[in-house]
Symmetry: C2
Subunit: 327 residues, 2 copies
């Protein structure tokens, strides 16, 4: 059904607060979830109907365990990844503005950061180039040549400022995101062919069977190498665990680079817009009526407030969300 | 036929020197070409039989046009990309060792850097994490949804130190590298299906037709977004040109990060080796007998000297190489 962005925002805020978050914390989680929801990304409000948002029992405050002028490593102390990642993003922006570039990572956060695009969009909106990587010890995805789940879906994102909206690349290195499986299962539909294997290693399109088997790494050996890169950058480099379903120690990494340490910022942003415009106007294949350019879908926050309008949402998802929100 | 690494090295050195490079310059180009050749990467000695190595008429010395403690932008002044990129790599290593991280880029180099893996291997061999990106205004590759060549093959590479050989990811964002087309054409064979289009936009496996048409971006919309990312980072950010076959102004970008600004270096390297070992031992699909792990193929330089041994080389390629070398 259709729902106004305002109503969905209120409902989502209510659902988040019901888990015990302060109103400041709830606003951060709300922005991350709505960013994804309004872009048709499967890291949106579906997270509220599973185990993705509730707070971990007995979590502490995030603590900085190592710091230099250009870097920081944070022990998340069981805090939700969205809250830690949002603070890390702000810190990377500050450090990059002062020193030209910065890298900030964490271990020991719970659950996922949601759409990494949110954080690199925040960086790019400050005129900086942003990179983000996330990993978790939860094994869902098989490397190329194997059917054994070892990697998490290991997403990464890149945000680059233009004279209009930032260029945003936000992708899992798995053929489908884990929440894509949850969405398909909730909707009672199969996923596309070639997304994964069942527990015996046979190809299947049933999302539940892929959950107990393995998602395929995207893009053959190249995509699988990217998944391994993320495992090293957002796992090992930030002291998070790898390959251990029993562990809660997930890791994230964010980088920010000020383009003005290399070139003129305005020239850079204008040329980026021209390049994107040229790609968008490329000769189309047959009946395809648009060329995909990362980051152009979706609503945006203006001064921290969502644009208004209406969006589609699954009936099933909406009624479960109302339950969580206590409506 | 089989040739000893020593003989191929001598022949390659001779061919490079025949273009007028000094012996110091020739050693750099030699290492870059042999790194690729000995890994079965198509950025190897095949470059000597085309227009990839000859010097540009009237080129000047590279000049630093902007510099901070963590960055530098270089005007290549028409110097060959391999020479400029090698010097930029050394500079990024020095700056990262001193300041934790660094980014160095150039515009206005000629031809391609060759295998980007060479440069990130050099960075990772110093215990740092390396990223490299290369672009050129020469249009060969169509974005997802189009058959119009706009991107160059836009490769990027990542090198991460381990307690053994570095993890190396080195990939073009096109379905096949341009030198892969040259190799196939030289060998008189077709390429795999799904690599590209002819000039009318119809799918073809003929390498010559793809050269006058377009290579496909790899991996659907995700790969195409990665190609665009490289265009912005190694094109616009470093003041190189985009989308102009008449322009010689190609760009490259290299980054180095010292992992010890976030974590203990030894722990990081050991854990990276363990992660890679776990991936390598993953349950295999059917008859596949190895799991691809980036960077494990090929010979390595020990103290600047190539390991010895023998490798296969196409007869056709070898005889053309001998011609260039004047043998």
């Amino acid at each position: 059904m259709r729902i106004s962005v305002n109503d969905l925002t209120s409902l989502t805020r209510k659902a988040i607060v019901s888990f015990g978050y302060t109103s400041d914390e709830a606003e951060i989680i709300l922005k991350v979830l709505m960013f994804a929801q309004l872009r048709g990304n499967n890291q949106g409000v579906v997270k509220l109907i599973g185990s993705g948002i509730p707070m971990r029992e007995g979590n502490g405050e995030p603590v900085t365990v190592k710091e230099t002028t250009v870097s920081a490593l944070i022990d998340g102390n069981g805090t939700h990844a969205m809250l830690v990642m949002d603070a890390m993003t702000d810190r990377a922006i500050l450090k990059a503005k002062e020193h030209g570039m910065a890298i900030v990572g964490n271990f020991n956060t719970t659950e996922s950061t949601g759409a990494l695009g949110y954080y690199v969009d925040k960086i790019a909106s400050e005129g900086l180039i942003g990179f983000a990587y996330a990993s978790a010890p939860f094994m869902t995805t098989a490397p190329y040549g194997s059917t054994e789940p070892l990697f998490c879906t290991n997403p990464f994102a890149v945000g680059i400022p233009t004279s209009n909206d930032p260029f945003l690349l936000d992708m899992s290195t798995s053929e489908i995101a884990y929440y894509g499986l949850i969405e398909a299962k909730t909707a009672g539909v199969n996923v596309s062919e070639g997304c994964g294997f069942d527990a015996s290693g046979a190809p299947t399109t049933d999302p539940a069977q892929i959950m107990s088997g393995a998602i395929k790494a995207f893009g053959g050996h190249k995509g699988s190498a990217l998944a391994l890169m993320v495992q090293l950058l957002a796992g090992s480099l930030v002291e998070a665990d790898s390959f251990d379903n029993e562990s809660d120690n997930a890791g994230n990494l964010v980088m920010a680079i000020d383009p003005s340490i290399l070139t003129n910022k305005e020239r850079f942003e204008n040329e980026n817009s021209e390049i994107i415009e040229r790609i968008r106007s490329a000769k189309r294949i047959g009946s395809k009526n648009e060329i995909f350019v990362a980051g152009e879908r979706g609503y945006r926050f203006k001064d921290g407030v969502l644009e208004s309008g209406e969006i589609d949402i699954q009936d099933n998802l909406l009624s479960k969300l109302k339950e969580v929100a206590g409506e």
